[in-house]
Amino acid sequence: MADPIKVYPPKPSHVYFYATCLIDMFYPDAGMAGIQLLEREGVKVIFPEDQTCCGQPAYTSGYHDEARAVAKAQLDLFPEDWPIVVPSGSCGGMMRKHYPSLFKHTDQEDKASGIAARTWELTDFLLNVCHIHLKDLGEPTTVAMHTSCSARREMGVAEVGPRLLGQLQNVNLVEQVRAEECCGFGGTFAVRHPEISGAMVSEKVDALTDTGAGAFVTTDCGCLMNISGCAEKNRKPLEGQHILSFLWDRTHSGSGRES
């Protein structure tokens, strides 16, 4: 669960960017947006080339040996004492909350704990470490937000997304009913229990559609893939975007969204 007290570091010169495998393969735009937002704040972004996956899919499936082997391959990617920023509450949560127990009583215990302590969810980092001030360049629009359960409960950043969106003058943020309820993704849960997950995501799509916004943003690509995929399948007028893409698109002076 969320830390009772979170101590933010001063704004650093460099950060390590841990993209996550979903962003790498399915949503690289969101990754680029995150990197560009950080760079605009004057932070040098280091992208360790050898990063793959945090290990969470195997971890939550109970295959801890396999998760540990993958996680171990990430531990040497961050040699300097710079913060590690993750554009996902879920993967960030894995590194911050679960790496220490995964490596308990192993030779990597200290390294894993060190990494955990300097891992930050990226929107949280932008708001509370970089103290970002966003200048909205976009047309007036209305948007809903779905905060992932891991961002909300594991990383404790439920307030962050709405506050960032609140900085955008032309964005009207509307709240869905049962905003705190899970969208039903849950990694392998969606495949193991398709009927339950399907019922959950269908209701989440309805809740977001009923806001009338026609668009939503989210902190996590798992939720995005789940909710957008369900909306598309059911031809619901609901467009999803990672919050980082949305923030970057509205605040940079280029030609709009990169593709």
Partner: protein, 478 residues
């Protein structure tokens, strides 16, 4: 499968999926649970309004942790104090032994009818069934339990046993079984049940109840209830038998107040229940009422094996408020009967594998998106999601560094799935292989299958990007 007509004594816990599918396609189940859970979530929130909930939860967790840390000593102290107070203490290693103890007490008193207050441990023991088979009538007196018993079902919620039924269904059931008029007037239905139960109270030979907190220092049994049936059960019949799990003990009387404040608010959103009973012994010579005999049956039933493990131990903190199920998006969709276990929902998923074995309960820990809502509302801060992950690991023997130990562990390990994770791990632990593989997948994305099992029943397939972020960063010169 019709949830209402399945034999509650022969449920195959492993048949979770068919029951889940049936529940999800049953609009009445969906509606009854959604409506009830929404109401309970709001009530809980309102009840804690203006309180420092986090501080109270911390206190509650510490009280329970302290009690568990001293459990053997506290149980000894409890037995001593209860005995001094005239309450006879019995120990049962499992549900069957607990049933035998209750029956033997009944037989010794030549008791033929038992009236029961609400007790989940007695459900765990399947006490009613056991007694009925041996010629002793056991009648539930809690309104929800009474309805469930009339229907020949098991509770679908630990606090609100008949929450799966709406007023119309209850009216129909009571009309058919007890001859009341068909009516949607809740007061009329309640009054009818009350009238029928009153008579039974007067004639019952034995009252059986549960216990919410057993206080070691004073030898007091605390019972929380709303209907007064608990007080009737424990005071009207000449003999009272309380049954409870060994983990329900707390050290001191002052531990009760914070736990009670947490329990009633978390469970039903009440600041205090209508009745709170503190039972400290049988009728004394100078007293005019109360039972002649009071017994306490302390049931282990797998709890001491949970107690052996530092992490799993947290399961035993539970004070049975049901908030975890009220807030669970899975429970809300599938309802309590889908789990096929005495305790449904998140607490059931972490407790039942110890009671029935992880082989039997192998699907239980998987039925969660790990959203964490349960852990967030738990009044004693049980890290339910972490325990679910632990049990998932145990069910596939997934951790060589921390070998599984729960009874029936490893039953879910399938050779195909294990191989998939091995392959996955091999690729993701080799950055070069990973980069090559993901870049190749991006090139071949047009060949990606449009159907991906259960995923695409409800969603379109995820779309691979034309270039991975790794490739784009490389192009950028990083």
């Amino acid at each position: 499968m019709n949830q209402a007509t399945q034999d509650p004594h022969h449920i195959d816990v492993k048949e979770f999926h068919p029951r889940a599918r049936a529940a999800i396609s049953d609009p009445k189940i969906r509606q009854n649970f959604r409506k009830a859970m929404d109401g309970l979530i709001t009530k809980r929130k309102d009840a804690f309004e203006g309180m420092d909930l986090e501080a109270l939860r911390e206190l509650g967790a510490n009280i329970r942790l302290r009690a568990l840390a001293n459990l053997p000593d506290l149980l000894e102290q409890l037995e001593k104090k209860l005995s001094e107070n005239g309450i006879k203490v019995h120990w049962a290693t499992d549900g069957d032994e607990a049933c035998r103890i209750v029956r033997n007490i009944c037989v010794a008193r030549n008791a033929k009818t038992v009236i029961k207050g609400k007790s989940m441990v007695s459900e765990e023991m399947e006490l009613n069934h056991y007694l009925e088979e041996r010629g002793i009538t056991a009648l539930e007196s809690d309104l929800g339990e009474y309805i469930v018993q009339l229907a020949g079902e098991t509770p679908s919620h630990i606090i609100m046993p008949a929450i799966h039924k709406n007023t119309g269904e209850i009216s129909e059931l009571m009309h058919q079984t007890t001859g009341t008029d068909l009516s949607n007037d809740v007061e009329y239905l309640t009054a009818s049940a009350r009238q029928q139960l009153r008579e039974k109270f007067m004639n019952a030979d034995v009252g059986v109840s549960g216990v919410n907190f057993a206080v070691a220092e004073t030898g007091t049994l605390c019972l929380v209830e709303n209907e007064g049936n608990g007080r009737m059960t424990t005071t009207v019949p000449p003999c009272h038998i309380a049954v409870t799990g060994i983990e329900k003990v707390v050290g001191n009387l002052e531990d009760v107040a914070p736990l009670l404040a947490l329990l009633t608010r978390s469970a039903t959103g009440q600041h205090i229940t209508t009745y709170f009973n503190m039972i400290s012994g049988p009728r004394k010579l100078e007293e005019l009422d109360g039972p002649e005999e009071v017994h306490l049956v302390l049931v282990d039933n797998g709890r001491s094996s949970i107690y052996q493990d530092d992490e799993l131990l947290d399961t035993l903190r539970c004070i049975r408020c049901g908030a975890c199920m009220n807030h669970c998006p899975v429970y809300t969709r599938v309802g309590g009967h889908t789990y096929g276990t005495t305790y449904p929902g998140p607490i059931g998923k972490i407790l039942m594998p110890h009671l029935i074995g992880l082989d039997e309960g192998r699907h239980l820990p998987t039925a969660s998106s790990l959203c964490g809502a349960c852990g967030e509302v738990c009044p004693v801060k049980i890290p339910i999601p972490d325990l679910l992950v632990r049990l998932r690991q145990e069910s596939v023997d997934g951790d060589k560094l921390n070998p599984a130990k729960v009874r029936g562990h490893g039953a879910k390990r399938g050779s195909v799935e294990a191989l998939v994770w091995k392959g996955w791990s091999w690729m993701h632990a080799r950055p070069g292989v990973y980069r090559f593989g993901t870049a190749l997948a991006a090139r071949l994305r047009k060949l990606q299958p449009g159907q991906l099992g259960g995923w695409t029943e409800y969603r379109t397939a995820p779309k691979l990007a034309a270039k991975t972020l790794h490739e784009r960063m490389k192009e950028r010169g990083q």
